[in-house]
Amino acid sequence: MNEELYICAHAAEFPAQALVRLRPELQPEPIAILEGRAPLEVICSLNRSAWRKGAACGMTRQEAESIAGVRLLQRSNETETAARAVMLECASHFSPRIEDASYGTACSLVLDIAGTRLLFGPAESLAHRLRDALASVGFHTSIAVSANFHTAQLKAAASRGVVVVSAGEEASALSNLPLSVLALPAAHAETFAIWGIRTLGELSALPEVDLIARLGQQARQWRSLARGVEPHTFQPIEPEFTLKEFCEFENPIEQVDSLLFVGTRMIECLVERAAGRALSLASIKVQMKLEGGNFYEGVIRPALASSDRKFLLKLLQLEFAAHPPQAAVLSLTLVAEAGQSSKMQLGLFAPQTPEPSRLDVTIARLRAIVGEERVGSPVLEDTHRPGSFRMESFAVPARSATAKAEHPRIALRRMRPPLPVSVTLQANKPAQFRSSEDNYKVTVAYGPWRTSGCWWSTESWDDEEWDVLATTQSGLSVACLLVRTNSRNSWRIEAFYD
């Protein structure tokens, strides 16, 4: 049970894979990734289609542009970091002990899988499952399994598909690999070339003492590596669980629909990663870098944590509809907060209430129609100022606590903004008043009721209220709340009784 067993997942040409991962439409195209400052940019990574067309690492931009059909993209460190985190997250579903053995432009993760047989079956089955899992999040990898750490790493880097090296057969498995996989210093590589040593098998056949005598102690390590017996002290990393997806565009995106294509894939990845830990998405922060140096930030917060891709995508679409970016988009980042998958306990005799996820979409749509602050529940302010309230976002409450009035109360219909009127007084009471819409003859006026407050601030008010019964020109009886502002001696209709 204590035998060592390692599995290495090797993603070659990682800069290219990271960039096309979220954009499936680019995957069949020949892609070459440039790094460095213009005009000295060189190709650092490319996919197989570009390699077939004749592109190669180290080519300058001018050379690459001369090859027809090759699409050139700029390397993005942020995209690679996000992609590496996704790959690590995916691999951590198979083993908690992972060492990052990346080098050059490849991303290589070695997992300690000793003792996982009961969970995942034979090593070969685990290797295929790991490869499929990585493919589902957009990475094409080669997998190698071996009892020796370095053998797994070297074999994965040099082969394609899944390779399982049985214990004791490491040397024969590595024998055909070229010497270049050891990344020897140039002087020693040249020495080996002069000696005619080109493969690891040839290197391992050399006598150890003579080799050390000629090339020093380091030659012992190379020989051990070539024979697959070099020991390794495993240094596991502890991946931080962050649900973040980042995508940088080579051209600024102006159409919101185009963003949604990328957003769909990003949300799918986030949901999948969260589901791997039996979690859902409680909120998604949308960040966009805009042309001109501006940034856009918005938050999608469903009432209940959800794993429903379509529902989350709809919320993202409505967020874009309500707050369209003010300039072309250079990059899109989605940072999700994980939450427990929610279950609602429904009662057989409980009254029907809106389904939380559906209500979220409905409220988002309503906000898009009437405005952000104009949908919600009113909350009365703790003040004596008439008509003061604030809006709060609506959520289905658990239980009501308000007591119903035993007798109906007269309701007001507010005028927003209040309707200015000119008033004629008789014996210090309104006798008639005129608005821009109608003339009113007062039948009875109850008042004045004086109200004032906040005298210590600029929001002070000092009003005089009259409850007025009046008749319009057309003979209609109305009851309204007529208010006079004492400081300006101006009159207005604040509300109608109805």
């Binding site: 409980a350 009254p351 029907q352 209430t353 809106p354 389904e355 559906r358 209500l359 979409v361 409905t362 409220i363 749509r365 309503l366 129609i369 009437v370 405005g371 104009r374 949908v375 919600g376 529940s377 009113p378 909350v379 009365l380 008439p386 008509g387 309230f389 809006m391 609506f394 289905v396 409450p397 239980r399 009501s400 308000t402 007591a403 119903k404 009035a405 035993e406 007798h407 109906p408 109360r409 007269i410 309701a411 007001l412 219909r413 507010r414 005028m415 927003r416 009875v444 109850y446 409850d467 019964l469 209609l476 009886s477 109305v478 009851a479 309204c480 509300a495 109608f496 009784y497 109805d498």
Partner: protein, 253 residues
């Protein structure tokens, strides 16, 4: 079996492939009702507003339409239901709602506004928003009552709402078992409305001619499609009710 019954069965059997049960009367369905919280109005409506149908409350300003709707919502929120107020002219007063006993936490308030840009100032914009919002709420389901407040909208605009829209609302309300109450200066839903109430008169109550104590209103039933009474029974066509002002104390009987 007498000859008339035998003849009926014979005719029904002959027409069965074209008109099933051609001579048998359709069984009367009794609609569930939701109380308005006002005894006089409940008596007039034989229980209250029908669940899953459109009820219209029409009348001029200061005729008690809003008080009636708030009383109804207060009753619904007391039953732990969720309600919505679609406010075409942004006239809703939360203080009045709270005074009537509406649980504001259970109330979704949609305040329509004048749209910016080219359509600014068009009376249709607010109405359009109100119709769209009502449509969305009905489709979402789960709301026990929705008040579509067209109380300040000019009848010449509101009467242009297509009949197809009202028909769709009726279907959606039926499906989601929602009471859709339409407040307006006139009745607009025509054949789609199950109930049309006309709010009529206004009489103020005052104590000593100094303080307004409340109003007495009259309400008349113009249409009642799902009346549970037998068709021959005599129905009371009108009723009266009163609303007190917020500052008047309730006297327990």
């Amino acid at each position: 079996m007498n000859s008339a019954a035998a003849l009926r069965i014979q005719i029904e059997h002959a027409l069965e492939h074209r008109f099933p049960s051609a001579l048998t009367p359709v069984p009367r369905t009794y609609r569930e009702t939701a109380s308005t919280g006002i005894e006089g109005v409940d008596t007039l409506l034989e229980g209250g507003f029908p669940v899953g149908a459109i009820s219209e409350v029409a009348g001029p300003e200061s005729s008690g339409r809003t008080s009636l709707a708030l009383s109804f919502l207060a009753h619904r929120t007391q039953e732990n239901c969720v309600v919505a107020w679609v406010d075409a002219e942004d006239a809703f007063d939360p203080e009045s709602a709270a005074a009537n006993g509406v649980s504001l936490r259970q109330l979704l308030w949609i305040r329509c506004r004048n749209a910016n840009g080219l359509v600014r100032g068009k009376p249709w914009t607010r109405l359009d928003q109100a119709i769209q919002a009502t449509d969305l709420l009905l489709q979402a389901g789960g709301f026990a009552a929705i008040v579509l407040d067209l109380g300040d909208t000019a009848p010449e605009h509101a009467s242009r709402i297509p009949l197809a829209t009202w028909f769709r609302f009726r279907q959606a309300a039926d499906r989601s078992r929602c009471c859709l109450v339409v407040l307006g200066k006139d009745a607009y839903a025509q054949s789609s409305a199950a109930i049309v109430l006309e709010c009529l008169s206004l009489r103020a109550k005052a104590s000593g001619k100094t303080v307004l104590d409340g109003f007495a209103y009259e309400v008349r039933r113009e249409r009642h499609r799902f009346s549970p009474s037998a068709s021959g029974a005599r129905k009371q066509p009108a009723s009266s009710w009163s609303a007190m002002s917020n500052w008047t104390r309730e006297v327990s009987s």
